[in-house]
């Protein structure tokens, strides 16, 4: 019993971080309906930028974090305007969009490797602050992750259900052609929601950088986790992605405690395998998203 409670808390904290990733990708994917994975590159660069701002420029962690979020928005805007918009213009095949965005991700990872090398960099100097709640001890990052995740969840749920941008994004997602006919600027809406998605994802990059550290290859890992969260939760559902991320965090934490290292990554694959084999639409998925072929 005394192991169960810390395990649950730990699972919730890891799950909160994965939920952030899942929500960010869900925002991008639900609007574009394309696997635009260029966010992985932004994730890598934001993590490294955080490290530079804290370790070299000597900024405090909160200020550096806000600057990094701004950077994420800006980078994402550049990528969308400069490349992805042209790709979308040129072809509507999801393979091309995925390949193009993967190329961006690879290029950003390669540049990061050339400049900073492959080592793990962390923005933390000194020991972590530890919060104590009775028998449970959690580090500051783990304490803040669920808070961030919950505020992002509430803020963007509000954004999507109440504000014009959210409603327009829904319209573009459901019927791009009709949205254009009624005069929506679909490209602008796509770009903006993608930028917001990358902003959310950068929150996780900041947390990781302070907690365990970042390295160039972390971009592809973030993509995999985000994919899994969205698939588990159900494609097309923002709430589902958050819950999917949370569930993956729990599964992974339990796996770390219960299984040897060899099988830890296998657990996630097995989970993905089972979902795809038995319930491809995920927990909250929409049945009519794309019909099975």
């Amino acid at each position: 019993m005394d192991l169960l409670l810390p395990l649950l808390v730990d699972g919730m904290c890891t799950g909160a971080r994965y939920a952030i990733l899942g929500m960010g990708f869900a925002l991008i994917f639900n609007t574009q309906r394309m696997f635009d994975i260029s966010f992985g590159g932004i994730y890598t660069w934001c993590g490294l930028a955080m490290w530079i701002l804290v370790a070299y420029a000597g900024l405090g962690i909160p200020l550096a974090g806000v600057l990094v979020l701004g950077l994420a928005f800006f980078l994402s805007y550049l990528i969308q305007k400069g490349y992805m918009a042209r790709m979308r213009n040129r072809s509507d095949s999801s393979v091309s969009i995925m390949l193009g965005s993967m190329a961006i991700l690879m290029a950003m990872e390669a540049i990061a490797t050339i400049i900073w090398g492959g080592e793990i960099r962390t923005a933390r100097t000194g020991d972590a602050d530890v919060f104590k709640f009775g028998p449970i001890q959690i580090s500051d990052v783990k304490f803040y992750s669920p808070i961030f995740a919950l505020s992002i969840f509430l803020a963007f749920r509000y954004l999507f259900q109440r504000t014009p941008l959210g409603l327009n994004a829904k319209a573009v997602a459901t019927n791009p052609l009709l949205s254009r006919i009624v005069g929506l600027e679909t490209e602008r809406i796509l770009t903006l929601t993608t930028c917001f998605g990358c902003l959310i994802i950068a929150v996780d990059a900041v947390l990781v950088c302070v907690d365990t550290g970042v390295h160039p290859a972390i971009g592809f890992q973030s993509v995999l986790i985000a994919f899994m969260a969205v698939i588990l939760g159900g494609i097309g559902s923002f709430e589902g992605a958050a819950l999917g991320g949370l569930a993956i965090g729990f599964i992974r934490t339990v796996a770390v405690f219960q299984f040897p290292t060899l099988w830890q990554e296998m657990i996630l694959f097995v989970v993905l395998f089972l979902i795809i084999a038995f319930r491809p639409i995920g927990i909250f998925g929409m049945k009519d998203w794309k019909k099975e072929v």
Partner: protein
């Protein structure tokens, strides 16, 4: 001279990979980013059988092909039931898991150190241990593979595969079992990748997980896109150019070797970025309709 021969042999082995990946992506239109995983499974199975059980090369290679084909079913059976978008993710995570197993299953694969001392190929008492003899040997095998794929391309089977890529429902409506065709093309591609895996193992006589990671899968993909999807000539041209190109980096003076990998990846990524935007059909391919 040995260095040139080495590059040619690597190119020949890579051609097997690209040409077999072309069956999946170019003909059937299945985008499964896990070709390096099949390559790795083939290499490790062949190596372990030769090192631990002392099997000769060809039986070991045959077993490796068999094991890899079985592994390809793990991806193909659930993956092909659903829309291809999921398939991409599924294959992607399969690649990650196989790499992870190679690194962490230390008792079997010796982890990141890799396995050294793989015996060279011996046929009827002749040992292919010099570069030039291995070059001839791999040339024969590569030509055989290319010929096989060419036969597949022009056969009725190949036509059905291309039909699946262009219009799956039309193929289904004339009564072809589309899923069976897809699974077969998956198995062929994986089996050929295993052949390449067996060859790289006996050629370098050392394997480690680093050869079979996601970047290798992406490299095979970029070779195919650079040359032109759906054409054997494109696959060969792409492989030759992109395998040889980074070797030029070695001749830049004062370039730290730690940067080499990064610069190579940047070159590949740039090629992919530009080709996807301006010439998605590759340098050999015809413009799409």
């Amino acid at each position: 001279m040995d260095y040139l021969l080495h590059i040619v042999i690597i190119i020949l082995i890579n051609i097997i990979l690209t040409v077999s990946f072309n069956i999946l992506l170019g003909y059937t239109g299945i985008f499964a980013l896990c070709h390096a995983a099949f390559y790795g499974i083939g290499a490790y199975t062949a190596t372990l059988l030769m090192k631990n059980l002392g099997l000769p090369f060809f039986p070991a290679l045959a077993c490796a092909v068999g094991v890899t084909v079985l592994c390809s079913l793990i991806v193909a059976l659930p993956g092909l039931r659903i829309h291809w978008d999921y398939m991409v993710i599924f294959a992607f995570s399969f690649q990650m898991v196989v790499y992870h197993l190679m690194i962490n299953w230390v008792e079997l694969t010796r982890g990141p150190q890799g396995i050294a001392g793989i015996p060279p190929v011996t046929i009827l008492g002749f040992t292919f241990d010099s570069k030039i003899s291995f070059l001839l040997f791999s040339l024969i095998v590569t030509l055989a593979v290319v010929y096989l794929v060419k036969r597949i391309e022009s056969s009725a089977f190949g036509l059905v595969l291309k039909g699946i890529k262009d219009d799956e429902i039309a193929v289904k409506s004339v009564g072809k079992p589309v899923t069976a065709y897809k699974i077969t093309s998956f198995a062929i591609a994986a089996g050929l990748a295993a052949v390449a895996g067996g060859f790289i193992a006996v050629y370098i006589s050392y394997i480690s997980p680093g050869y079979f990671d996601l970047h290798t899968s992406i490299f095979i993909l970029i070779c195919l896109i650079f040359g032109g999807m759906g054409s054997i000539r494109g696959a060969i041209v792409g492989t030759v150019v992109l395998t040889a190109l980074p070797e030029l980096l070695r001749f830049i003076p004062y370039l730290p070797s730690t940067m080499m990998g990064g610069i190579r990846d940047l070159i590949y990524a740039t090629i992919l970025i530009l080709f996807m935007l301006y010439r998605p059909q590759g340098i050999v391919g015809k413009a799409s309709r």
